[in-house]
């Protein structure tokens, strides 16, 4: 179908049709992107300009100080907390998840299907279903209001998706490769680190990105288990920021934009991995 339409689109004499196609698509894209454009414009103008001309107008003069002020008002802390939590959670999680996925795919293991189903349950559990016992548990372990505790929770909740993605990829590695290495006398741990993990590099990168974005964006566990302001991660800090400075739209927009920048960079540079990662989760 795509080839057929491609021909249609590029047929000479149909340029009006092409122009119409692009115009309609561009209009839809602008409407779709309007919230993001509004955000950027708001972050760049001062509060007075915003109050007079509204959100969707070009700023009279670009006001970069919104960003520095937001950064100094607390976003700096939130940002580094998010960096710490994501920086620990993602690599540790991926190692655990890959080890488990490897056991489920390339080791002779009779209960693999049952264990996999047990792990999949975690994909569907509403977090509310775990909150009260987790509060008791974290309290008992003195982990409430610590980034360590939050990171541990993130690792636990990340297991199902990570195993799903890595298992999907490991299954595409031919058993013959693993068998050959076994016959050559390599231990499973060696095969895992020297053969399976390097072969699965695209999946590892995909998972890093999807997992990194999800961790960076997580809200509810942070909301329940972080209490003090200086420990808040970005999404939580921003919502708090918005209730405290509800009228300072310029600074708030700048703060939101700062939180989005790392995601945008990751998105731009590693875009194709979003697709392959999700594909791995489905196949």
């Amino acid at each position: 179908m795509s080839q057929a339409l491609e021909k249609n689109v590029y047929l000479p004499g149909k340029s009006a049709k092409v122009a119409l196609f692009y115009a309609a698509l561009a209009l839809a894209a602008v409407i779709w992107f309007a919230p993001v454009i509004t955000l950027v414009l708001t972050a760049l103008k001062d509060a007075g300009d915003f109050a007079v001309n509204g959100a969707f107008s070009l700023p009279k003069s670009i006001r970069w100080s919104n960003f520095t002020e937001a950064w100094d008002t607390g976003v700096k802390n939130y940002f580094w907390n998010s960096v710490i939590v994501t920086g620990f959670k993602v690599p540790v999680g991926i190692i655990l998840e890959s080890l488990a996925a490897f056991a489920l795919t390339h080791m002779r293991f009779k209960r693999a299907d049952r264990v996999f189903t047990y792990i999949l349950i975690g994909l569907i559990v509403p977090i509310q279903m775990t909150l009260v016992p987790l509060t008791l548990l974290m309290n008992a372990l003195n982990l409430i209001d610590t980034l360590t505790g939050l990171t541990l929770l993130y690792i636990g909740f990340g297991v199902p998706f990570g195993v799903l993605v890595m298992r999907g990829f490991f299954r595409t590695i031919p058993t013959a490769i693993i068998e050959a290495a076994r016959i050559d006398g390599a231990s499973y741990l060696r095969i895992f680190f020297r053969i399976a993990l390097p072969l699965a590099l695209p999946a590892v990168v995909s998972l890093c990105i999807l997992d990194g974005v999800a961790t960076w964006n997580e809200f509810i566990l942070a909301q329940i288990f972080l209490r003090s302001d200086e420990l808040r991660t970005l999404p939580l800090g921003l919502v708090q920021f918005s209730t405290q400075f509800s009228t300072q739209y310029d600074q708030l927009a700048a703060a939101v934009l700062i939180s989005v920048v790392p995601i945008v960079l990751v998105f731009l540079f590693f875009q194709r991995y979003f697709v392959s990662g999700m594909g791995g989760a489905v196949k």
């Binding site: 057929a4 655990l96 056991a103 489920l104 996999f116 569907i124 016992p133 919502v239």
Partner: protein
């Protein structure tokens, strides 16, 4: 003597061999568990055990602080259904949310996937634009849309006024009769990317020659979609529907960021109301009972999904 010695020398060998083989087999049987144990341990402690314990707690009356838990059987569930008006509002909102999630992001995602699967110049840029909201934090999406809906300064009311539709402007998030719908629209903006991505991936598996053959047989684009493409996307569609339904029932952050359940509890969901009951009103039993109800609703969509994911082995 030599004849006696020989069997004696040989005998111990097979015994030792058999023993070695057994320990090696034990080791090989044990090894997968060793690989699994770090992930399984933390997952069981953080997800599975709390889940089971929540279900148990929902049978007690408890304030979350005092050591005394009073066993009340299913009383918490009865109370929710018979005496808790907000529970019904939340249940209704969840139902509306679920229907909207099954219709809007899925059909928009499919439409965009079909459109952006065409190979035209700039298609990658458009893919990025339409996918982008999906990578944003849901809390951030909530904040952005709160400004869009701002009664005076918000983009929506300003655009309506500019188009001469001032009569349609309103205080979107402050009217209890309608407040849940603007929140759902904001959630949809964030939720379209995933179905779009999954459908795009699914479309890559539709064989080109089938479509060519249908075209030669005289089938137009719409008939080609209905009779060739869509049947081949059946599995993708099932996965998309299951995932969007499960995600819809998980919705929480966006309501918290936009309305915090208000005005007058009109935008409460089971997830947010669970939070209020547990952490604000200290009725832990009722809170966990809501969590169990929410989980049961999720299971309706999740069981076919899990079947689908495990069947392929």
């Amino acid at each position: 003597m030599a004849t006696l010695e020989q069997p004696l020398k040989i005998k111990p060998l097979p015994v030792r061999k058999a023993h070695a083989r057994r320990t090696r087999e034990d080791y090989l049987r044990f090894l997968p568990w060793l690989f699994l144990s770090p992930a399984l341990a933390i997952y069981s402690i953080v997800v599975v055990y709390p889940m089971v314990y929540s279900a148990y707690l929902s049978l007690f009356r408890w304030d979350g602080i005092s050591p005394a838990k009073v066993f009340v059987g299913l009383q918490n569930y009865v109370t929710l259904f018979t005496q808790n008006e907000v529970f019904w509002i939340a249940l209704k909102n969840n139902a509306i949310w679920l229907v909207a999630a099954l219709l809007l992001p899925t059909s928009l995602g499919l439409g965009l996937a079909l459109l952006l699967n065409l190979k035209f110049r700039g298609s990658a840029v458009f893919r990025s634009i339409f996918y982008f909201p999906a990578v944003l934090s849901v809390a951030v999406v909530g904040l952005i849309w709160t400004w869009i809906y701002h009664p005076d300064l918000g983009l929506l009311n300003q655009s309506l006024s500019a188009m001469g539709l001032k009569g349609l402007t309103r205080n979107w998030l402050s009217d209890p009769r309608i407040a849940v719908y603007p929140v759902i629209i904001a959630a949809t903006w964030n939720a379209v990317g995933l179905p779009m991505l999954l459908f795009l991936a699914g479309l890559q598996t539709v064989p080109m020659d089938l479509l060519e053959a249908a075209k030669i047989d005289g089938a137009g684009p719409i008939r080609r979609f209905i009779h060739v493409t869509f049947p081949l996307l059946r599995e993708t569609t099932l996965i998309v529907l299951a995932i969007t339904a499960i995600n819809a029932l998980k919705a929480y952050d966006i309501v918290y960021a936009m309305t915090n359940g208000g005005p007058a509890n009109s935008t409460q969901l089971l997830s947010t109301w669970m939070y209020f009951l547990t952490y604000n009103y200290n009725t832990v039993g009722q809170g966990t009972a809501i969590a169990v109800i929410l989980f049961s609703l999720t299971l309706i969509f999740a069981i076919p999904y899990i079947r689908l994911m495990t069947r392929k082995t």
